[in-house]
Symmetry: C2
Subunit: 173 residues, 2 copies
């Protein structure tokens, strides 16, 4: 899974390098977060920071940079849609990580009639969540959102990400 | 990857159920977080909420419940060790999610001589991070930690978790 040369065990590295090397060895599930900006346009991005915070109340967290094109909308919105992706959604994951003016250039989404947030079709699961906390940390924000509604699509095998590569799940261990 | 019956597309479900179903379809990389409690004992737990927050400064986040056996130590500590796991570490992941008085019952860890936190051997990557924020949200806490040091072990294939099962990575897509 890595094209790095072998590293001696316990090699000491500085803190920026430690961050980089550490997260190169971490795998993450891939999600898409969307919202609608104050002028009514959809925004969204591919996120690898989605995590569960608690089941009761049903809370999730995700992280983003305040330099992200979606931040102005995420800062102002009451609700977001959060989508879990499947390996069949690999092109969607790449699109939502590409040029921000092209991210909604396909007929695979619609505004939710109740919450007004853009929801992609063809994904395994979506929740609509109210943003309840936005914690600024340097140029970044940790967001907490309370799940209010959800829908399920066809289940599949989760899309995963590590070291700039997308992959599917392997064998149970 | 799922033993659920097929679900109709866009089935509406209530918010607790929405949370549960949504995270059943989310896959996560597996990490272990450790610290030393005020009386000098090691504590730690298996976490599926590890996420990157920013590279500069090098920040990570993870979530936990304040009812967790490790919380008193995590609340008081200045530093934590965060370990990325490999499929070879599957038993370690299960041990650190099991009875808390048995989690350090093996000779596969040592206190870091500089920071005093317990560090497991035989994992792909470890960082030692200073806890810089603890955000309480209901009975839970979102933690932000600044990576100060790190070391690399032998690389391998990341350990993943979904729906109470551990698995390895599959093919690139």
């Amino acid at each position: 899974m890595s094209d790095e040369p072998d590293e001696p065990i316990a090699q000491e590295i500085d803190e920026i390098e430690a961050f980089k090397r550490f997260f190169q060895r971490h795998s993450a599930g891939v999600a898409i977060v969307t919202a609608t900006d104050p002028s009514g346009h959809p925004v969204g991005f591919t996120a690898t920071s989605l995590a569960s915070l608690s089941a009761v109340p049903p809370l999730l967290t995700f992280n983003m940079a305040r330099t992200a094109s979606s931040w102005a909308a995420i800062e102002a919105t009451t609700h977001v849609a959060v989508h879990v992706l499947d390996v069949r959604n690999r092109a969607l994951a790449a699109r939502l990580a590409g040029p921000h003016d092209r991210r909604f250039d396909a007929a695979d989404w619609a505004f939710d009639p109740t919450y007004g947030v853009p929801v992609f079709t063809g994904v395994p699961a979506v929740v609509i969540a109210r943003v309840v906390e936005r914690y600024p940390v340097h140029g970044n924000v940790v967001l907490v959102a309370h799940i209010e509604d959800g829908s399920l699509g066809e289940d599949g095998v989760g899309l995963l990400y590590r070291e700039r590569r997308f992959f599917g799940p392997g064998d149970e261990v």
